[in-house]
């Protein structure tokens, strides 16, 4: 269970949110909504452990957000696809997997096949379109064993088929006891979606 307790976040002179508390149980998906600049990305970055909040704390299965176990259990995919343009799709996935997880021999070919990029394994990421880059980053969802997924605008640049694949994967993850927090301005058809607004 993820519990967020009395979180406050300030950027410059702007107080984005204060006393924000919520809990998320296994199998639940939470959508954070709000206007541009309301602090959705900041909240996700705080939960991911990238930023520190002004006040408040976060715990996931009794692990504090700065612990190693917390970081292994968390998968954060931000605004950018986190791909190096010089590396091929497979090499980028290998690098990101080594940084994020402790899986010894992940099957990258299957992950790329699931996301619809089976013929692009050795293509440098710099040659791909924005949607294809986003798909490569999201193919980590087919590899990762982290329980808590934090997805910042995951549907940006994706076509309707891509959105459907990701929605299905999120539902599958939650059916297996995982948790997911996402921000998106698009409609999404994920079952039993909880929502908070900033």
């Amino acid at each position: 269970m993820l519990s967020v307790n009395k979180l406050s976040c300030q950027r410059g002179y702007n107080l984005l949110f204060e006393n924000l508390s919520f809990e998320l149980n296994s199998g639940e998906v939470l959508r954070i909504s709000g206007q541009n600049g309301s602090g959705k990305t900041s909240l996700l970055k705080i939960i991911a452990g990238l930023n520190t909040p002004e006040l408040g704390s976060i715990e996931f299965d009794q692990n504090q957000s700065n612990s190693e176990t917390y970081q292994i259990e968390t998968l954060y995919l931000g605004h950018y696809a986190a791909l190096s343009s010089e590396l091929s799709c497979i090499e980028n996935l290998e690098y990101l997997t080594k940084l994020n997880t402790e899986i010894l021999s992940p099957n990258f070919h299957d992950a790329l096949k699931e996301i619809g990029l089976e013929n692009y394994e050795h293509e440098p990421a710099g040659n791909l379109s924005a949607g294809q880059k986003r798909r490569i980053a999201l193919s980590l969802l087919f590899i990762s064993q982290s329980k808590l997924w934090l997805l910042d605008e995951p549907f940006t640049a994706l076509d309707s088929d891509g959105i459907k694949i990701i929605e299905n994967q999120i539902e599958k993850h939650c059916a297996n006891g995982g948790l997911c927090i996402l921000t998106t301005h698009q409609d999404c058809n994920i079952k039993s979606l909880k929502e908070i607004s900033l």
């Binding site: 990238l50 190693e68 954060y76 950018y80 986190a82 010089e86 590396l87 940084l99 440098p124």
Partner: protein, 208 residues
């Protein structure tokens, strides 16, 4: 990665070779004049070319979001940064060490001075990369930060410049250079121990 985009490490190296080879044309082809100023020329250009390459240390990773993944990785951040800095040294410092005998000969340095020059470069170029990584982490989120990076880092490079050039100059007169080498060695050990940790803190602050 750098070998797939060779300009990222070849440009500072070309700058190093071209600037040093211009000095004999601009100042004087006289062997004695060049021999006297050679240690200073080679060391100043080394520093500037390392400084030139520092911008590429974290910027592309910051722009494409990989740096965020590095910071939240469960691996120790100082260790990852030490690995990145070592890669930077292999691409910026090591080629300079390998090229220095050729450029030393071009500036009429004798074989003993070339040996001492290479020794000082071996001791001090890793310091340049390590200290530079702190500055690069601090300015990573600032666009066009080249000038700011120079202002931050150059004062920290001055002790290295003083000890390294005086070691090579004194070796030309067969004077003892143990003191300078000890200082360079201790700067290397201190920066090797502290720089990755300071750099990690600076990077976390920059990404806030």
């Amino acid at each position: 990665m750098a070998f797939r985009n060779p300009s990222s490490f070849l440009n500072p190296l070309m700058f190093f070779v071209i600037s040093i080879s211009l000095f004999p044309i601009a100042i004087s082809p006289n062997a004695e004049t060049l021999m006297n100023i050679a240690p200073g020329i080679i060391w100043v250009i080394t520093m500037l070319s390392v400084l030139l390459s520092l911008n590429s240390l974290f910027h592309s990773d910051y722009d494409n979001g990989v740096l965020e993944q590095i910071v939240i990785s469960h691996h120790p951040l100082p260790l990852i940064l030490l690995a990145k800095t070592t890669a930077h040294w292999i691409l910026s410092g090591l080629p300079i060490i390998l090229l220095s005998p050729l450029l030393g000969i071009a500036l009429f340095l004798d074989s003993n001075s070339i040996y001492i020059l290479m020794l000082t470069l071996c001791l001090a170029t890793p310091c340049l990369s390590l200290i530079g990584s702190i500055g690069a982490s601090l300015v990573v989120s600032i666009k066009n930060s080249g000038m700011l990076l120079s202002l931050l880092i150059l004062p920290l490079y001055i002790p290295i410049l003083i000890f390294a050039t005086s070691a090579v100059s004194q070796s030309q007169f067969n004077l003892s250079i143990n003191g300078q080498l000890y200082f360079l060695g201790s700067i290397l050990i201190i920066s090797l121990i502290t720089a990755p940790f300071v750099s990690a803190v600076a990077l976390r602050v920059s990404l806030e």
